[in-house]
Every structure is written in C-alpha cells, then in structure tokens.
Symmetry: C2
Subunit: 195 residues, 2 copies
C-alpha cells in the first residue's frame, strides 16, 4: 500500500537492527484517515471471504481493526492482555511470548464473542515473530471458529512470523512488507511492484 | 443520542448498584458503525471549536476517539496506562485512581504529540468519578495545551465526575446520560428530550 509505505519512509524511525518505531501515526498517535484507508484496503484484499468477525489484540491493533470492521460491516473483538494467566470458564485464553520484552503475556477474550459459526479475519499492527497472531489463532481454535485470513499493517519479512503462517497455509496480506533496514533506512520488498 | 441509548437498553447489563457492562458493543466487542455515528455526533456537538487533536486513554477510549478523529480530520493520541509510575523526561504523566479496582494507575503520553499550540478534545468511554478525565486534563496542562472540551460516550450523572468538570467551566458533552439504575434497568436523564 503506497500511502502507508510513504508514511513509513517519512515518519518511521529505525532503532537498532530490527525495530521500527511508528508511534506518530499508528501506535501512540494515530492518523484516522490513514487507518480508514487501511480498512478499505483490507476489504479489497480479502474481497469475497465470508468474514463475520474481526479479531485483534489491545491496544495498537484496535485502530486498524475498527476501521476494517467498518469496511466489512462486521463486529470487532479485541483480546485483552494480562500479565498473569487467569483461566476463567467464560474466557478463551492463550499465552504470547514477547521477544521484545522477553516475557510471557496472556491474552483472553470472552466466550460470548466468538463461536463455531464465526469466520474470522485477524488484524494486527505488526508481524515479526508471529507470537501475537499465533495467540489469536489459538483462541480461534478454542472457539471452534474458522480463520479466513490474517491482515497485517507492517510485516518484517526477515523475521519468522510470515513463514510460520505460510507453512500453515494461511491467507496473509500485509499492507507494507519490510525486507530490511539498511543504514537506518527502511527497504520494502518489491518496492517497484506495489499498487 | 438515541441510537446509543437504544443500544444500551438492548445490550447493556446492569451489575450491582452502579456498574453498566457494555462489552458487546463498546469495550471488548466493538460495533464500528455505532462508533462512526458517535464520531459524527461529537463533531456536531463541538461544531466550531478549533480542535487540533483528540486525546484519549487506552484501551476502551480508542475506538470512539479514532472515529472522532476521522470526523474532525485531526490526529488522535491515546495515553498509555501503566501499573507503576515511571517518570521520563520525554513523557507527560499523571496518576489516575480507579474506584472500581481501588488502585492507582498511571498514564503517560509522549511530549512529541502534545504542545502549547494544541487545542484538545478529550474523548472517553465512561464518565463516572472523573478520575481518568482528570488525569488527561493534567497531561494537557503539563503540555501547555488548551482544552476545548470533553466528549463522553456514557455518563453516570449520579457520580461526581460531571460535577467536577462543570465546576471548572469545561464544555462537556455526553452521548448518553444515565440518571439511575432502577431494578436492573437503565434510566436516562431527560429520556423524552433527546435528539
């Protein structure tokens, strides 16, 4: 998505070897017009999939997810994050390892909001090692719901998340695919091949 | 806002004496069409105010705030919540007491995203005792920014938050104003007097 790539080039900050900070339009300050355009783009990319629900995780997934929900005309559920694992009868839960912070987090969603009739599109802000998405897929499995695809705002193709999802035959669409960081600059995959 | 009041009547759950659970359209599962309508309604209610930025707090404030941002065509900043107070040079911070959980939380926002030129609309999901909004106002003061108003999705008029804000002469608009819970049912203020 060219609009997003341009924004990353303009406003993204590369920190160290593999961190991209996009806190001025995505995960602290949010650009609502860009989010709305991203929602429309996910709609286009998953056209025809019979999606009944969008699932994400708080907090940075919420903005892209709710605009996707608007584009698809379906409800959005955001999983809650917890420091400690509290298993409850009325919740689906999963453990998510954070490579950045080197700790386990736990996510949960109420059983009321996901069931075996749901066909789910997962939306998240980043795909790196794939842990957050794997946690959401586990929750979808627990509910007996069906996964229709995974929509990612920014994918770091050089980390293992995309490969893990491809191996499972999952339909993944990323709005920006980063091939590498070179001398503090972002290099996109197929830079000349974008719509 | 009649659409919201009808939704609260239909899907809200009154728990105990003063808790309203709206997790199936606002703060766990989110109805994007309702959020978009709420954003438009806030735009109408604050028409003419020279707003440059919308400020909220994660996570439940994000959905109403981003759709308000879209309606006003301005960026949205969501404050981060922390268990512990970590004062940092590059952050504005405030302490927020939670009456529900009886603990202090801390909120912070990066100094990059709020300054003395900003005219701020605060958006939040609930106004009860007003602690979260007071924390956001403190952050706005620290930045030297100017408050234009406070937009609330659901106000519990029988708790002290609204009075505290009125005493300070702040322009507050709430989309649904709850007068009381009677036998497990929600009673709105001026039920016959809504647009």
């Amino acid at each position: 998505m060219r609009l997003l790539e341009e924004r990353i080039k303009k406003d993204g900050q590369v920190l160290g070897e593999d961190v991209l900070k996009v806190d001025n339009f995505l995960n602290h300050q949010v650009d609502p017009e860009l989010m709305a355009a991203m929602g429309e783009e996910f709609k286009r990319l998953f056209e025809g999939a019979p999606i009944t629900k969008i699932l994400t995780v708080e907090s940075s997934g919420i903005a892209p997810a709710v605009f996707s929900g608007l584009a698809f005309h379906v409800p959005v559920v955001f999983a809650r994050k917890h420091k400690s694992l509290t298993l409850q009868d009325n919740m689906y839960s999963a453990t998510v390892y954070s490579y950045t912070k080197k700790v386990n987090n736990h996510i949960s969603i109420s059983k009321k909001f996901l069931n075996e009739n749901d066909r789910v599109l997962v939306i998240d802000d980043f795909l790196a090692n794939g842990q957050a998405v794997e946690g959401l897929l586990e929750v979808i499995d627990q509910a007996g719901a069906q996964l229709e695809g995974v929509g990612i705002v920014i994918e770091k193709t050089f980390q293992k998340g995309r490969e893990l999802l491809d191996q499972r035959g999952i339909h993944v669409e990323s709005l920006a695919r980063i091939a590498a960081f070179e001398q503090g600059e972002v290099v996109f995959l197929d830079e000349n091949n974008e719509n």
